[in-house]
Subunit: 340 residues, 2 copies
DNA sequence: TTGAAAGCGCTAACAG
DNA sequence: CTGTTAGCGCTTTCAA
């Protein structure tokens, strides 16, 4: 089955390749007679012609491809994402992109190859980067002069668009809620707190709330690991080992909160009576654990939609750098208990 | 910043473009003198040259792109996948592909455009399809003569490679375990049971186990919906509405099992004393729910790895159709209680 | 309103 | 061992 090209269509329709190209791209009606246009369309249908986007890209310098970079949750691990958060985000990105005629080029973070290489390699029209990475790799990207959207990161950059939430506020909200319920000894459980990442901001929010209440931040209440179930499950033991006196914890991700709950239970604690927890994200898992997890809700799907939209907007008509902050809210469930 | 092409490199190195191309593709040493090769590499580095894969594909008819199609979990919903299962799978596919120099072209199932269109559009070298789809769309794919790997589907096809698990056995294992623990009235909770899908096989396994034990399969014990938390949460009410007498359920996906547990609890049931549940997949969520979910474990990550590997193998050297079945096992946790 | 022709950046015979 | 050259399939001036 030989590949059918624009040439074949042209021959079939008795026109030139130019005409075919016109019919296919410029919404026909403008420059081509309805009759010719129809003939071309018929030929296309008859031959079951499908344009070769590679060739198109080569000459038009437009790929209709959006690059998406998703972080490695656990360094060195083969998984880009074990956290369901990324699945949801990606899902919404894919959907939005597809609706607008774009395909997604998915990639984890390269060690050897820089993103800018991939971008140049494939000539993606825009790129969405989730999470924070070494700043220098972003520098290269800047040279590319294609729209870049940074999701969930706080790197300062004069050019790249960003989309995220107010993580600091979220951390503050979560912790404040715990304080309001009478808790004084509150643990902070999170993944690695990297320089410009969301975890760091959530941590700042945690401290904000503590400070407001005049509660000192104590290092022994801080638990840093990886954003995954296994780490969270191990935290309660570590708490005991430290001889901790915490009555509550702010888990900077739902998966951590869920793991905490489970780990605590395993140690014989009664929840929420003995220990209160607030999570972050509002994933399905928050509703599944028992007690269900009070958490900071964010609209993941909207995040994905906006990320794509920013790329699209930037693509037609330059636009000044945008910083989009999506709203969050505290969702009350059953994992927090008032202390008397 | 003008694009630097192979020509520029050639000029810089004082050689022809052919030579550059040779150095870049055919592991240099063979046909090119070390010295020339070195000069070219220097020029590449100096100019910071990155090959344009589009152009390369156009002439070599090789894109180093693998298409991945992930199903819509809930029909009509914008999400490809809310089930963390897909995130994990995708993760492993991406990682494996990248290690072998392939990039991923991600796509949800199109309604308008067929997969074969995308495949032809972009000229992907191979395609991985997860889940089952209308058979006719696969027919078109066959014409493409590129390797296709079907993951988790039971469509009969003489050409496409497949990779999956023995879902029927899984269903049987799960249900049999319940029976062994003395249960006689066992519900089956799953998403839509489509013709050649995994849910159907799991359902068959459920029936197998029941038949072996001489227990009649009753329609009133069957709960079909979507593979999502919300449906699962609603099942317990439906059970009461039906005036059901079930003491156990086989949930054909962990997310359903988790939802069931939660929903049952909400109705005041004590678990596992009042009700036993077995899930399927062994996702994180199975360890998080309370009681933690006894489930059928499958190696999702291996599934992804093998899928890519099959494509790669097929790509160099034709190979007869492969059908890979990965092992599964029953993981005992706390959601099943012996009935006396 | 349509066609001829020159590339887009790279590969791969075929020569030399 | 290296260079010439003809495409890959499509877009897009520029003419007709």
């Amino acid at each position: 089955m030989k590949r059918v090209g624009i040439k074949d269509v042209a021959r079939e329709a008795g026109v030139s390749t130019t005409t075919v190209s016109y019919v296919l791209n410029h919404k026909s009606s403008e420059t081509i007679s309805a009759e010719t246009s129809q003939r071309v369309m018929n030929a296309v249908a008859k031959l079951n012609y499908v344009p070769n986007l590679n060739a198109r890209s080569l000459s038009s310098r437009k790929t209709n491809l959006i690059g998406v970079v998703i972080p490695q949750t656990e360094p060195g691990k083969e998984f880009m994402f074990s956290n369901p958060f990324y699945g949801e985000l990606l899902s919404s990105v894919e959907y939005t992109a597809r609706k607008h005629g774009y395909h997604l080029l998915l990639s984890g973070p390269q060690s050897d190859q820089s993103y800018s290489s991939i971008a140049r390699n494939r000539g993606v029209d825009g790129i969405i980067i989730v999470g924070s990475y070494p700043t220098h790799s972003l520098g290269e990207l800047r040279q590319l002069s294609i729209p870049v959207v940074l999701v969930d990161t706080y790197v300062k950059d004069p050019v790249f668009h960003t989309i995220g939430i107010d993580d600091r506020l979220g951390g503050q909200l979560a912790t404040h809620h715990l304080i309001e319920q009478g808790h004084r000894h509150i643990a902070f459980v999170s993944g690695a707190v990297s320089e410009q990442g969301v975890m760091q901001k959530r941590f700042l929010g945690y401290m904000d709330a503590l400070n407001e209440a005049g509660i000192p931040v104590k290092e022994q209440h801080l638990y840093f690991g990886t954003v995954g179930l296994d780490f969270a499950l191990s935290v309660p033991q570590e708490m005991t080992r430290r001889g901790s006196v915490e009555t509550a914890a702010f888990a900077a991700a739902d998966i951590l909160g869920a793991g905490l709950i489970k780990g605590l239970r395993k140690l014989g604690k009664r929840l929420p009576d003995d220990f209160s927890i607030v999570g972050f994200d509002d994933l399905d898992i928050a509703r599944v654990c028992d007690p269900s997890l009070t958490t900071i809700r964010q609209d993941i799907s909207a995040k994905g939609r906006h990320a794509v939209q920013l790329i699209l907007d930037a693509l037609d008509g330059t636009m000044e750098k945008q910083e989009r902050i999506l709203p969050i809210s505290l969702v009350l469930r059953d994992s927090v208990q008032k202390v008397i």
